[in-house]
Symmetry: C2
């Protein structure tokens, strides 16, 4: 039995930084780096980003859509990007926001989680529109593979608020209900106070996020939207309050925005790491 994802993350975050480098090689990002918008350009972008940033941080987060848009060759780059992260001892959180039921849910876990899977991820983001309990086959595979799961609970984009604040039959919001579901789910097999199931929570939501975080004390909190989407690390620390120690701050565009030059890229990621250490 290998070490659970959450334990591996906490150890590595203490050694290096909790910063997660988001890998979002959009057409615009490739262009800004002077790369072709094809699988070779994608590969060059990811190799450079991992080579420079990988050794400095606990985790990287490739977003699958940016690999899928280059077809099977792009998906080979995703596989190799995860392997390259691992060569630096860095964890790979695959951002797919996927979700389905029964054998299809299991197939997502089989595809993305654990060293025996084709993509080899250490953790996976999932979406619960079909119900938290429908994701059980993914959670089962995550536990078997000592992998992590991040359920999208509350997103930073304004269009998400109405659905995520909708009220279920007992008066809780959808986001509150999912946060409580995570806590119940983590109740089994918890290690170091943290369970394998974490949450994605937006970085730009003000005081709401501390209340949500308080409902899921066993959850790691993956927080995208820092930098380009408007929140600073200081905002995130203030918003999450005492729960900030469980936050995985994910920064993508403002790191890649430094450009392809390795020394500039390294300065940018070191600046973000310093911001987080100071917060």
């Amino acid at each position: 039995m290998s070490v659970p994802f959450q334990t591996r993350f906490i150890r590595l975050a203490a050694e290096r930084s909790p910063l997660c480098v988001g890998i979002d090689p959009s057409a615009d990002a490739l262009k800004a780096w002077g790369l072709a918008d094809d699988a070779a350009g994608l590969r060059a972008f990811c190799e450079r980003l991992i080579e420079v940033c990988g050794p400095l941080v606990a985790s990287v987060k490739p977003q699958v859509a940016f690999f899928e848009r280059h077809g099977p060759e792009g998906m080979a780059v995703l596989r190799d990007t995860v392997a390259q992260a691992h060569s630096h001892g860095t964890l790979a959180i695959i951002d797919a926001k996927c979700g389905d039921i029964s054998s299809t849910a299991a197939a997502y876990g089989e595809a993305f989680l654990g060293p025996k899977s084709p993509f080899g991820g250490d953790a996976l983001t999932v979406s619960a529109y079909l119900g938290f309990a429908a994701l059980a086959p993914i959670f089962d595979i995550a536990r078997r593979e000592s992998a992590g799961i991040f359920v999208v609970v509350r997103s930073s984009n304004p269009e998400g608020t109405e659905l995520q604040h909708a009220v279920v039959s007992d008066g809780r919001t959808v986001a509150e209900r999912l946060a409580d579901d995570i806590t119940v789910d983590n109740g089994v097999g918890m290690v170091d106070g943290l369970g394998p199931t974490g949450a994605v929570v937006g970085g730009t939501l003000g005081a709401e996020v501390a209340r949500l975080a308080a409902r899921m004390p066993s959850a790691l909190l993956l927080v995208p939207g820092i930098g380009a989407q408007g929140a600073t690390v200081a905002d995130v620390q203030r918003n999450f309050a005492e729960h900030y120690r469980r936050v995985i701050p994910s920064i993508s565009r403002s790191i890649a925005g430094a450009g392809p030059d390795p020394s500039g890229l390294q300065r940018q990621v070191e600046r973000q790491i310093a911001d987080i250490a100071d917060a």
Copy 2:
């Protein structure tokens, strides 16, 4: 400008059958056909299913997780499966239930929709947990590519009910809100009374589905869960009432369950087509 997805579907459904053959090559399905659980087994399964069923129906629906679990090689099979469907004039609805925001949402559209995309799908299923409006970049690409979108509105699995029945600020349920959003979205550029944005609605939900369908008169209704998940074609016809003419009944396990023998497979798909024609 090519013919919109919804028009292509309606024409082909009238010529052949509205039946959609779901392509769900799970580990169990491959085993039941005596195939290896690898990319070669996956390819053999999909080729046989399309070869026999493709010419008889309007559309097929490969589920991406079952291809992703075989890595980049599996994704090459997905690409080739879509191309093989097209060689029979059959439409390919890629079932990914994906969703994200801004450039990431656009990347899903670029990956899966239209003849210039690497996977070449005619339509895509999406999930709206981040908000219907967040999916706008995918809808824009669908329109540009004359492709279709199916937003998961109401799923047949019991775990989905609580979230999908949660109540938004104006008193509508999440499912009702999404149905209304689809109608507003289709208001622009409608052809033949149908728009490019359809819905996934479960087949096992009783009278609720006719009320939902009535809120989205311009939506094609992709209805999985027939057969193995408990609903019969007659149930679906009764439940959807006058909206049944917009239903795309999707059947997966009860077709693949006939086994790999082409004549048995053909009898099974013809039986399903006859059931639908009689309903």
